[in-house]
Symmetry: C2
Subunit: 279 residues, 2 copies
């Protein structure tokens, strides 16, 4: 496995692969990432992984500085999962002096977009750059970041990026907690409490599968579970169209239910797609 620190190194390496899968990450790899890497490898026969904590997707006061970084460990894990190369640039490599562009996909309705203004413009900008550098055949993202998935699909479609976007199911711990690099921030007590997030989603999902289609009723089911967990500080419980991210306030057969919940200083997000199938 090769390590590339510069755009030029990736451009020199790229022609060696006909089909190339790609998994963009902020490093601090966990089993969720490794599943994405294996999935991309299986699809394309070769896979590149980027490790880059993208400063322009963090707002002032967010966790840019304390975001966990361990490149040595990431390289070992990526290699173990089958990565052919890792692209781990310094911020100055992607944002040299004079850099001034932004890509904005305009999906402004989402709850996560409202909670983190500017975040998805930072995501879309770096992903457009990474796609143009790595030139992947297929790029794999995790459903855990549902709003990000909608943004990336919109980005690829709107800018005619020559890449297929593949969304993989959320990887979860045995107690249901969605895998996330930010889980490492949790104290043992917070970690135990955090299982309430997926339990809350599961409660709504069970009601949905029993025929309940009303977001207001499902919201109560979510609130009941989160309300029973004293450490859970709910930031939002959102029902939205999975593609446009427009909020839904009336019964629907297809809804993205997404949550943001704080445990102490740690903010976790999770979601489930509620889909009754058919038309």
């Amino acid at each position: 496995m090769q390590l590339c620190r510069t755009v030029a190194q990736v451009r020199a390496l790229r022609p060696r692969f006909e089909r190339l899968g790609f998994v963009p990450t902020m490093g601090s790899l966990h089993d969720g990432h490794l599943g994405l890497i294996r999935r991309a490898k299986a699809t394309c026969g070769a896979v590149a992984v980027s490790v880059f904590v993208n400063p322009i997707q963090f707002a002032p006061g967010e966790d840019l500085e304390r975001y966990p970084r361990d490149l040595e460990r990431d390289l070992e894990l990526a290699q173990g999962a089958g990565a052919d190369f890792v692209f781990a640039p310094e911020p100055s490599e992607l944002y040299p002096a004079g850099f001034s562009s932004r890509v904005d996909v305009g999906l402004t309705h989402g709850a996560e977009n409202a909670a983190r203004p500017g975040h998805f413009s930072g995501v879309a900008t770096v992903v457009a750059k990474l796609f143009n550098i790595v030139q992947p055949t297929v790029a794999v993202f995790g459903q855990k970041d549902a709003e990000q998935c909608a943004v990336i699909r919109r980005l690829a479609a709107d800018l005619d990026l020559p890449v297929k976007i593949d969304i993989a199911p959320t990887a979860r711990e045995p107690d249901g907690l969605a895998m996330s690099s930010r889980n490492s921030y949790l104290s043992p007590v917070e970690r135990a409490a955090a299982a309430a997030v997926s339990r809350a989603l599961g409660a709504a999902q069970a009601r949905f599968h029993s025929g309940e289609r009303d977001p207001d009723v499902l919201r109560i089911a979510v609130a009941a579970v989160l309300g029973a967990e004293p450490l859970a500080q709910t930031q939002y419980v959102a029902f939205a169209d999975p593609d446009s991210l427009a909020p839904l306030s009336t019964p629907a057969r297809r809804m993205l239910l997404s949550l943001a919940v704080r445990f102490g200083r740690t903010r976790l997000i999770d979601n489930v797609l509620l889909d009754a199938g058919g038309i």
Copy 2:
């Protein structure tokens, strides 16, 4: 020569060419465009031309509706200049329902950007799309649209687009008028008067080459020529850094001098790079 009306047709055709030059146009081709096409062909051995009047780079009240369109003639001229294929999509092909993205390169200082708010975001967005669709080796633009050239260079650098940007000198009529599709709007009397634009640039250039470096003094030389032409309504005379487009108000050895001047309903732009060389 082939005509492609859809993105899928271009994608199917693209692998036939190893190196491919590209000239994006809004059609209504003139000798300036044909020079760019020949230049791209000479560089790459094959050349694609796009013909697309891009609605998102026109503001309400601008000339989107009356912009001249004649695809039959454009196809003949492009073929004569050596084009291997022309991509002429309908607006709905590039902007289908749900399209919501924008690329903004953030060069907000330019005089043309101030005169046409949102214009360059529309340009950057469509050019990013066209580059991703056509996947050219080299893309050729004319220096006549100097601020656009700076925007495209910034776009390609900032988004790591795998394409070389080649800027060709402005093509001019015998009396110095920069070639432009919008020249066809001019009445015979306006057409004769419009030569004052390049004469004004020439007057400043002569003073610069005589050693004058002060924008305020050069501005007077420009104003003297334009002021002597009763039909010329000057919109701006701007001195700027050629890369950042930041306005210059003190003497400099390298300046982009750009003009926007109205003749009746027709707005013309032109520019000259004043470069004393050295450091």
